[in-house]
């Protein structure tokens, strides 16, 4: 059985049987039948459960007269993303705020959870940033199709029809490259942040790691901002007026 975090071990103890059955039904043979749930999957489940609980809690205490501290934080984050998407996409950007806020919260909590002893950052594993990038990729194309209909595909043909056979593969590759660049940027920064903190903690365990933990918080916030902002820029490219 592989080494696992306490939360992963708990999930595996409770759900190993049903998960094994589900994987076999999909034609996937689990490598460790006693522990089919990996650390990064368990951490994502925890983050999703935490966010659902957080939003339910804020919703139940929502007050216009006496907003609590938690409500202020959530509304501050939401209005920050809303203002930013308004500035990048322009008018009618409100429809995309819910997705961008959910994506931002998920990435931020995934980045920060690794700082708590006993937990790991799922974004330090390539599959998680890749999953987020794929979701963003499908979302902005779906919104582009919804807004422009079939005419959305004209965008991939380039400015002249005779250039279409050349431009089509170029556009497909450049859009797929966005997925890779979003993935690599988030993964590399979170992985490097974890490694730097770990190395300095091993060398000088007192005092110095605090500075690197501070740096890690800064990197987590910045990478969340960049991921959400680039998704907004790609959305603008798909649904914007100049499209």
């Amino acid at each position: 059985m592989p080494e696992q975090l306490w939360f992963t071990a708990l999930l595996n103890r409770l759900f190993a049987g049903p998960v094994d059955s589900a994987m076999r039904a999909l034609g996937v043979q689990p490598v460790h039948p006693n522990a089919p749930i990996t650390d990064f999957v368990a951490m994502q489940i925890l983050v999703a459960a935490f966010l659902i609980a957080l939003f339910v809690l804020v919703r139940s205490r929502l007050s216009a007269e006496h907003p609590g501290g938690l409500q202020h934080i959530i509304e501050g984050f939401e209005s920050f993303i809303k203002d930013q998407s308004h500035q990048v996409i322009g008018p009618h950007s409100e429809g995309y705020t819910a997705f961008l806020v959910a994506l931002g919260f998920f990435i931020l909590i995934c980045n920060l959870i690794g700082m708590i002893p006993g937990f790991d950052s799922p974004t330090a594993v390539p599959s998680v940033p890749l999953g987020c990038a794929i979701v963003a990729f499908f979302y902005y194309h779906a919104q582009g199709l919804k807004k422009n209909g079939v005419a959305y595909f004209k965008h991939f043909a380039g400015p002249f029809l005779w250039m279409a056979p050349l431009m089509f593969p170029i556009e497909i590759i450049s859009h797929l490259a966005r997925v890779l660049s979003l993935t690599v940027r988030l993964f590399a920064n979170m992985f490097a942040g974890d490694m730097v903190t770990l190395v300095f903690f091993s060398l000088i365990p007192i005092g110095v790691p605090i500075a690197f933990l501070g740096l890690h918080i800064g990197v987590s916030l910045l990478q969340t901002y960049i991921f959400v902002l680039l998704t907004t820029v790609y959305l603008q490219g798909a649904v914007g007026e100049e499209h």
Partner: protein, 84 residues
């Protein structure tokens, strides 16, 4: 609750935000060319295995490099056209 009369951005906020948007846009320039080249090469290798050919990886690589430059130029042009 946010003030409903509040404008989405005050001028100072908008200026600072715009600077950060430029920073984030330019930050992707470093990755876009290698990412597109890698994706092109990967697609070429996949096509070579599927079609049992030996030259499509090179075509994929060239198209990938072209796609990287197209995206690079597009990002720079779009950032410059949005500057005040």
């Amino acid at each position: 609750m946010p003030d409903p009369d509040r404008q989405p951005d005050q001028p100072d906020d908008a200026e600072k935000r715009s600077l950060w948007i430029q920073v984030a846009r330019y930050s992707q320039l470093a990755l876009v060319l290698p990412a597109a080249t890698f994706v092109g090469w990967l697609i070429g290798i996949g096509l070579d295995r599927w079609l049992h050919t030996k030259w499509l990886y090179l075509a994929g690589l060239i198209v990938g490099i072209a796609a990287g430059f197209v995206e690079l130029i597009r990002t720079v042009m779009s950032s410059e056209s949005k500057q005040p």
